[in-house]
């Protein structure tokens, strides 16, 4: 009987051990580590030294500014799949095909997506020859510091909007169809139907998509940056995750990288909580 009572613990033990040892413990270790020095100062406490250095580092400031840009673009990245899902739900001609087609890039690795778009977006590449055929361009998609970050973000959205689309469609399947019928009987326009019926009914789904899309933007663009721009041109496409990788692996500054990790974690917590509060409040007003 004693073995039986221990059984639940035996079942959860391996998972708990791995999660604690390799996810939660490193988090504490990293925060602790960020207050120590690099190189000759390895292991010695330096107080807020790393954080001050981060604040003064133009590259890290660019990476934070780019985070701000991503947060501003977030509504677009959520609205596109949301609108597409609405049309698919309303059975636009060909809706079955669209669902599978749109989702398809979401399963490709950022390396493959990045490599394909490197071909398409090169200065003498196909997209520019296409633009030239219409008398426009050429645009230096990946070489112009003012454009490159938008290009990479656009590619990221291209590659991931299918994920959010599928989540939206799952949300739609819980939608009360009689509400839509009522709107139709009342002769409401499409825009009004979306605003007054669909959005209020899908608050939870929208909230979920906002938070996961933001996490995706802040933590899964490394592959694209690595393949498409390496943080360039002129450091204009740095994001915290790329900065952390660069400082740790390339510059041998692990403690500084840990400080950047801690800042990223705090930024994510703040933005995430802010979103949830904001969305809750708008949800309540309706």
């Amino acid at each position: 009987m004693r073995a039986e009572r221990l059984a639940p613990y035996v079942l959860v033990a391996p998972a708990v051990l791995i999660i604690v040892a390799l996810r939660l413990w490193p988090l504490a270790l990293g925060v602790n580590f960020s207050f120590t020095g690099d190189g000759d100062l390895n292991g010695t406490p330096v107080g807020l030294g790393n954080y001050l250095e981060l604040a003064a580092d133009p590259l890290f400031r660019v990476s934070l500014r780019n985070v701000g840009l991503l947060v501003l673009l977030l509504p677009v990245a959520v609205a596109i799949p949301g609108l597409l899902a609405t049309f698919i739900y309303l059975r636009v001609p060909g809706h079955r095909v669209y669902r599978s087609v749109y989702f398809f890039p979401a399963v490709l690795s950022p390396v493959i997506v990045g490599a394909i778009f490197n071909l398409l977006l090169g200065y003498d590449g196909p997209l520019n020859s296409l633009l030239a055929a219409f008398g426009a361009g050429p645009v230096d998609w990946l070489g112009d510091p003012g454009i490159a970050m938008f290009t990479v973000t656009g590619v990221h959205i291209w590659a991931t909007f299918g994920m959010a689309l599928v989540v939206f469609l799952a949300g739609f399947s819980t939608l009360d169809a009689t509400l839509l019928d009522a709107a139709r009987v009342d002769g409401a326009s499409l825009a009004r139907t979306i605003w007054h019926v669909i959005i209020p009914s899908l608050t939870r789904t929208i909230q979920f998509v906002f938070v996961t899309t933001m996490i995706g933007m802040l933590t899964s663009m490394f592959g694209l940056l690595f393949v498409m721009t390496s943080g360039g041109p002129e450091g204009s496409t740095y994001l915290p995750e790329y900065y952390i990788w660069h400082q740790q692996g390339q510059m041998n500054r692990p403690a500084l990288a840990s400080a950047a990790s801690t800042v990223l974690f705090v930024v994510m917590l703040v933005v995430g909580l802010l979103q949830i509060t904001l969305l809750r409040r708008t949800g309540r007003q309706d």
Partner: protein, 275 residues
């Protein structure tokens, strides 16, 4: 309103254009892979005159992609097997067994879900280096298991919560031990969830760049995605061969997508509806 036929067709046009924009990049790459270098320089868009399989053979052999494939396959297979085993064990216990501390443990697993890899990559690499696991297969496998275990436990727990507790109780009365219930009842009943979580975990591991880059520094240990990226330097002046490499690396995932699309979508949405 949405019902009018005209409005539906008006929406269908941009949606069809977007669908084209979603597919075209891969079609373009496949077409380039079939061209000679000369054809590519002369005209990028025209359909390849006659399909050239030489490029594919060159990318496969010249870049040693077989090695990368084997590396990726071994690591992903082991990681997914472990994830499913540990995830279903923990999920069963958390969903259907009553024991002290279970809610704290569940919250701990959830917390793991909100720690992005980027935030712990420095200390984790250090822990791996200190234990001699960097640049070894077990090291990368363990890193993947740690990365995707919270997600796996979470989804398996919510799946097992949909299975009636009476089934567990009945099996216990029939004289099964807890482990017997897990092996004979819960594992088979978990099959649909194990399939969609397993595919998703496999995709995540297969497509990963950052973890593989950190955990497997030597060239002979490169996973497929790191290897494909290395092709870029090797074939910088031979775009058709490079495109062939991309195509070869994309094929396994495309196959999985064609056959298991529904399971992938189920896995993606499970978190949103049950969370």
């Amino acid at each position: 309103m949405p019902g009018t036929r005209l409005a539906r067709w008006a929406a269908a046009v941009p949606m069809a254009a977007l669908a084209l924009a979603t597919i075209y990049p891969l079609v373009f790459t496949a077409n380039v892979a079939m061209k000679t270098r000369r054809d590519y320089v002369l005209d990028r868009f025209s359909p390849a005159a006659s399909p050239r399989w030489d490029n594919l053979a060159e990318a496969w052999a010249g870049a040693g992609m077989a090695r990368y494939f084997v590396n990726s396959f071994v690591v992903v297979a082991c990681a997914v097997a472990l994830l499913l085993l540990l995830g279903s064990m923990a999920g069963f216990a958390l969903a259907r067994l009553r024991f002290r501390g279970s809610s704290v443990i569940f919250l701990g697993c959830l917390a793991g879900l909100f720690v992005p890899f980027q935030v712990i990559m420095v200390p984790l690499t250090r822990v791996m280096a200190d234990t001699g696991l960097v640049d070894t297969y077990p090291g990368l496998i363990l890193a993947y298991v740690a990365q995707f275990l919270p997600f796996t436990v979470f989804l398996m727990t919510s799946h097992y919560r949909t299975i009636p507790a009476e089934i567990v109780d009945a099996a216990r009365i029939d004289g099964n031990t807890v482990y017997g219930v897990y092996r004979r009842i819960m594992l088979p009943l978990g099959a649909p969830a194990l399939l969609s979580v397993g595919i998703l975990d496999a995709l995540f591991c297969w497509n990963d760049v950052l973890i593989a880059l950190l955990m497997m520094p030597s060239p002979e240990h490169r996973t497929l995605m790191i290897g494909v990226n290395a092709l870029r330097g090797q074939y910088s002046d031979d775009i058709p061969t490079f495109a062939s490499g991309i195509l070869i690396a994309a094929v396994p995932v495309l196959m999985i997508y064609l056959f298991l699309q529904r399971q992938i979508a189920d896995g993606v949405t499970a978190g949103s509806t049950k969370g």
